[in-house]
């Protein structure tokens, strides 16, 4: 097979990073990204892009740690280079505070982020309602810049991008040798995955450039994440809600909760409200599948269901997906050779 044709469905952080990994591991592949949405209209664009992992109950911890480590190392290198500002990657330090002591004292990722330690008494005084806290430094991927940077790097490799709503993966079988499904929440409709469900998140993106540290409540519901130009205030976790419309009552509630953690936010300007549906699953679906109809086959690699942990795990899962694509191509080439005999 001279130039295997690979289609990647989805152009959020998972689709774009997976496509980029494929161009890295398989330079002879021709890669095409197909998506009904591109930045700034993907789910990834709503997220703050903080590298603070979400724990998947259905994936072994050592695997999640490996994915996170790879993602962290990759972004750390970018943050320390001249490309950092264009890619939207920057280091940010801050605190995760708890009203009640967390079940596990040390999260699995505590030795991957930088300078992880427990907060001192003096630091906790800033949060009178919280009794326990962790301080650390991590990375943030600002979107749209990060997605646009990935798109730029993809174009440089010759990859193509098209706006197209794929209704069924099989419709691609005549044009492509391998299809990679990075459709995120779209996978529910695309492949009928009943284990995938939305967790609705509403956020505010505000102008408050004096906020330099992140603050996150350990319950995951209230957080303040300073980005390059805006601070993301969150949030909500509404299971099974499909609504993409901002709710005004929720906006006020998020704002009040964040102001109680950081009173200076009362002076925040130009509040923009956004909604995203986290594509949630017990575990990320990262596996091969072969679709077949009437004697014809289409190898598929699934890479979706990252829920609240998309940014934290994206590079690690993208590399694994690229490896699986490599296996698919090897298998295709093997069967082609056999066909010739």
């Amino acid at each position: 097979m001279a130039a295997p044709k690979v289609a990647v469905v989805g152009a959020g952080v998972i689709g774009l990073s997976t496509a980029l990994c494929i161009t890295e591991t398989c330079p002879s592949c021709s890669v095409t990204i197909l998506s009904d949405q591109f930045s700034p209209n993907t789910t990834s664009d709503v997220a703050a892009g903080m590298l603070i992992p979400h724990t998947y109950p259905g994936t072994p911890i050592h695997v999640q740690k490996q994915w996170f480590k790879e993602t962290f190392a990759y972004l750390f290198a970018i943050s320390n280079s001249a490309e950092a500002s264009e890619a939207g990657i920057h280091l940010v330090s801050g605190w995760q505070v708890f009203k009640n002591a967390p079940k596990e004292e040390l999260p699995f990722w505590s030795d991957v982020v930088l300078g992880f330690r427990l907060m001192s008494e003096a630091e906790l005084r800033k949060f009178p309602q919280h009794r326990f806290g962790q301080a650390f430094m991590t990375l943030k991927c600002d979107c749209p810049p990060y997605l646009l940077w990935l798109e730029k790097r993809l174009k440089a490799t010759g990859a193509q991008m098209y706006t197209r709503k794929v209704a069924d993966l099989w419709e691609l079988h005549s044009e492509y040798n391998v299809v990679v499904n990075c459709a995120g929440i779209g996978a529910q409709q695309l492949v009928g995955d009943k284990e995938l469900f939305p967790v609705r998140g509403q956020v505010l993106k505000v102008h408050a450039p004096w906020v330099k540290n992140f603050i996150r409540d350990g319950d995951g519901l209230t957080y303040i994440y300073p980005g390059i130009h805006r601070v993301t205030l969150g949030g909500t976790r509404e299971k099974e809600s499909w609504s993409l419309f901002p709710d005004p009552g929720t906006t006020k509630d998020i704002f009040d909760r964040c102001c109680s953690l950081e009173p200076s936010l009362r002076g925040a300007q130009d509040i923009k409200v956004k909604v995203g549906l986290r594509p949630s699953r017990r575990c990320v679906r990262l596996q091969r599948e072969v679709l077949s109809q009437g004697g014809l086959k289409l190898p598929v690699v699934h890479n979706y269901g990252h829920g609240a942990g998309g940014f934290s795990m994206h590079r690690g899962t993208a590399k694994e997906a690229a490896r699986l694509v490599g296996e698919c191509i090897a298998a295709l080439q093997g069967s082609l050779s056999r066909a010739k005999l």
Binding site: G88, K126, W210
Partner: protein, 312 residues
């Protein structure tokens, strides 16, 4: 009673406010006036980035360490108030970098979360083998001085030779931490530093004893830019929007004392509060309080007010 404040930088205005707050109700005849050749945004204070951080060593000057702590605690207490944003006050964390291990500074327990850098973090800064990380405060004088001016104006304090302007610019908004490098040989603030403010980021690293020149030097510009970009490669894409040179009022120690000045038959009590070098913002409130105590003792001597015992 007429009180003149000479100087409208951070020291002048905070001293004025401190004295007025404490004594105005006790001395109804108190009239306070501020005189200065420069007002915000043209004072030395306006050019400072505004980072609360004393020098590395207090050289045994415990008094100054106490004033620094008083200032930090005072500002920390204001962090949660609605005024914080208007004051230009916010928390900021960051690094101090060294080429060799150094003793902990006198202020390690004043700031929040002081710790040494881990080897992984030091990888970010080739050439530096030791460092600290802590959370401190920023107090941007381009906001703080106008805020102090408003408080004083509300109290009826008068200003002379006043002019108001403003700057608004963006440099490197992705930088969220301060980074201060130290070179024991070249001395304090003579090696690169990066301090992100609320709107733009300050790049610096020039500390030239005895140089009275306030003109920007092309050589110094090159030194600062090249050294800071080597420290933080991401800065190469930053846009330079402004350049400024200021004269830190350096002295072996702060002059904070009374003096009686006589001219013929006239006599005036002078309180000196100057010589804060590169740590004026860091020490300002502690010094303002000390100056206010000196003011109180003057009042007592002149029996201009019946005061309770001064609180130390």
């Amino acid at each position: 009673m007429r009180v003149a404040i000479i100087g409208a930088g951070v020291i002048g205005l905070s001293t004025a406010l401190c004295i007025h707050e404490q004594y105005h109700s006790l001395v109804p005849s108190l009239e306070m006036e501020v005189y200065a050749d420069r007002y915000t945004p043209r004072t030395t204070s306006d050019g400072a980035a505004g980072l609360w951080q004393p020098y590395l060593s207090d050289h045994g000057n415990l008094q100054e360490t106490l004033w620094n702590k008083e200032t930090f605690d005072y500002l920390l207490g204001h962090l949660g108030s609605p005024a914080a944003k208007e004051m230009g006050l916010f928390l900021i964390s960051g690094y101090n970098l060294f080429t060799q291990p150094v003793p902990d500074p006198s202020w390690r327990n004043i700031v929040l979360g002081f710790r040494n850098l881990t080897p992984k973090e030091l990888e970010l800064f080739p050439g530096y083998s030791y460092g600290w990380f802590n959370t401190a405060l920023m107090l941007e004088c381009r906001s703080y001085l106008p805020w102090l001016t408003n408080r004083l104006t509300q109290r009826g304090v008068k200003f002379f030779h006043k002019k108001v302007e403003s700057f608004q610019e963006v440099l490197a908004p992705w930088v969220k931490h301060f980074i201060i490098t130290h070179d024991i040989e070249s001395g304090i603030y003579n090696s690169p530093y990066v301090i992100p403010g609320s709107e733009f980021t300050v790049l610096g690293g020039i500390y030239q004893h005895g140089n009275w020149n306030e003109e920007n030097s092309a050589q110094d510009h090159k030194t600062i830019w090249e050294n800071c970009c080597r420290l933080l490669p991401a800065l190469q894409n930053a846009k330079i929007v402004e350049e400024w040179s200021g004269l830190r009022p350096a002295r072996p120690w702060v002059r904070l004392e009374r003096e009686t000045v006589r001219h013929g038959q006239f006599q005036a009590e002078v309180i000196h509060n100057y010589g804060h070098g590169g740590f004026g913002i860091t020490i300002h409130w502690g010094c303002a309080m000390a100056a206010a105590r000196l003011f109180g003792s003057i009042l007592q001597e002149k029996k201009l007010a019946s005061l309770p015992q001064p609180r130390l």
